[in-house]
């Protein structure tokens, strides 16, 4: 999930009786699956939660370009380089769709980006891990985009119209990302040298658990989930989504001829799902707090990009003003 631990400001659901008439009408619309649009009345908490979640989601797309940007100049062939650049451009696009959706709620894009740079806003923990070899590009596409798709497919039905429509657009584009990633790994496993095959297993070993962490804490450790589900911002719980992801990914892992770094991963006939081991939650919270392997580097890179691009934005404004003056004169 690209948004983890989104604060809703409420630990307990209000009953219909406790709600104001406006809140009640709003909740009834949600319950009837009527989409909420920008100009509609909404509780303050709903608006704030959405701004937090959508901005976190957008920041994740933008920071998510960095681990891949690392490999543009190192891609093994021109074909792979073009594919990688197309994928990275899509991620910039996804960030922008989401910032647009967020702005419909009255949030200011510059302010939200500033919160990211000040360390006040989060982005997905996954992008704080380094991409060390070429197989990481495959594993990121397959596992990270794969996990994002599981989450985002469900979010197409989220209750806020602009967010839902951004998700529809994003989902159309994501499957290219996952397929190109898997194909990188397949090629390496089928045609690669032993050293290249080892790189694939190494990439999976490092990214497997961080990919599972993308879905956020267990449901009983996720105090904001109840309110988010009642507002239908979230449609499925963290644990449900994680299980869906594992169930669809393990057969693909086996087809590659690789293994997961989890001795407890096995099919459970009775449940009809894969069982899997416990996530290292200490690592998850550490990374979320800013202490992952790449947190500082990622933020520094984003700040540098904004700062060093300032003159371009200023020049664009100066040029626009000059053109306007000429038109008037």
């Amino acid at each position: 999930m690209y948004a983890q631990l989104v604060e809703t400001g409420s630990k307990r659901l209000k009953t219909l009786e406790e709600m104001s008439p406006e809140e009640r009408e709003f909740q009834q619309k949600i319950d009837a699956e009527t989409k909420i649009e920008a100009k509609n009345w909404m509780p303050d908490g709903y608006r704030k939660t959405l701004i937090r979640q959508i901005s976190q989601h957008a920041h994740s797309e933008i920071v998510g370009m960095l681990p891949e940007g690392n490999w543009v100049t190192r891609a093994p062939t021109l074909k792979r380089k073009l594919q990688l650049m197309a994928k990275i451009q899509d991620e910039a696009g996804h960030g922008l769709y989401l910032y647009s959706a967020m702005e419909t709620l009255g949030a200011d894009r510059d302010e939200e980006v500033q919160k990211l740079h000040d360390g006040k806003a989060k982005y997905s923990s996954i992008f704080n891990y380094p991409t060390l070899n070429w197989a990481d590009m495959g594993a990121v596409g397959w596992l990270v985009d794969g996990a994002a798709i599981v989450n985002q497919v469900v979010l197409q039905r989220t209750s806020y119209g602009p967010y839902s429509r951004a998700m529809v657009r994003i989902c159309k584009e994501e499957s290219f990302h996952q397929r190109q990633g898997y194909q990188i790994l397949l090629d390496m496993m089928r045609e690669g040298t032993q050293a290249q095959k080892d790189m694939v297993q190494d990439a999976i070993n490092r990214l497997w658990w961080p990919a599972l962490m993308m879905f956020g804490p267990h449901d009983d450790e996720s105090p904001n989930s109840q309110q988010s589900m009642a507002w239908k911002i979230k449609r499925k719980s963290n644990d449900e989504l994680r299980q869906m992801f594992i169930d669809q990914t393990v057969p693909q892992l086996e087809f590659l001829g690789c293994t997961a770094p989890d001795p407890d991963l096995k099919w459970n006939e009775e449940r009809g799902h894969y069982d899997f081991g416990e996530i290292d939650w200490k690592e998850f919270y550490d990374v979320l707090k800013g202490n992952g392997p790449c947190n500082r580097e990622r933020l520094a890179t984003r700040k540098k990009a904004i700062d060093e691009g300032a003159w371009v934005r200023e020049a664009a404004v100066a040029y626009a003003k000059k053109q306007q003056q000429r038109a008037v004169a």
């Binding site: 649009e37 100009k39 509609n40 009345w41 451009q89 899509d90 696009g93 922008l96 769709y97 647009s100 959706a101 702005e103 200011d108 894009r109 510059d110 429509r165 951004a166 657009r169 584009e173 934005r313 664009a316 404004v317 040029y319 626009a320 053109q323 306007q324």
Partner: protein, 93 residues
């Protein structure tokens, strides 16, 4: 970027269809809005024509005026073809 204007983007997906709202972009001027819209909303041949419109120039109906604005048309059933029943013998009309 605060100095950049917000534009709403409308895309005609195919010849013969109307333009449809797809989202928004920020830009310093109209020309840049068009370029940004093309990069953002038509990377996979999603369109044959784009409109960009400064968001502040759009006048929208207010959400809480829905009843005042649209209710008057609800009780005019005679505006629909289905209101007029014709004998079967007349055939398709």
């Amino acid at each position: 970027m605060s100095e950049w204007r917000l534009y709403e983007v409308f895309v005609r997906s195919k010849h013969g269809l109307n333009h449809k709202h797809v989202g928004s972009v920020h830009a310093a001027d109209n020309e840049m809005a068009m370029e940004n819209a093309r990069e953002l909303y038509t990377r996979r041949s999603e369109g044959v024509s784009i409109w960009v419109v400064p968001s502040e120039t759009i006048t929208a109906s207010a959400a809480d005026e829905k009843e005042v604005l649209f209710d008057p048309s609800d009780d005019k059933v005679y505006r629909h073809a289905s209101f007029y029943e014709l004998p079967d013998e007349v055939g398709h009309m």
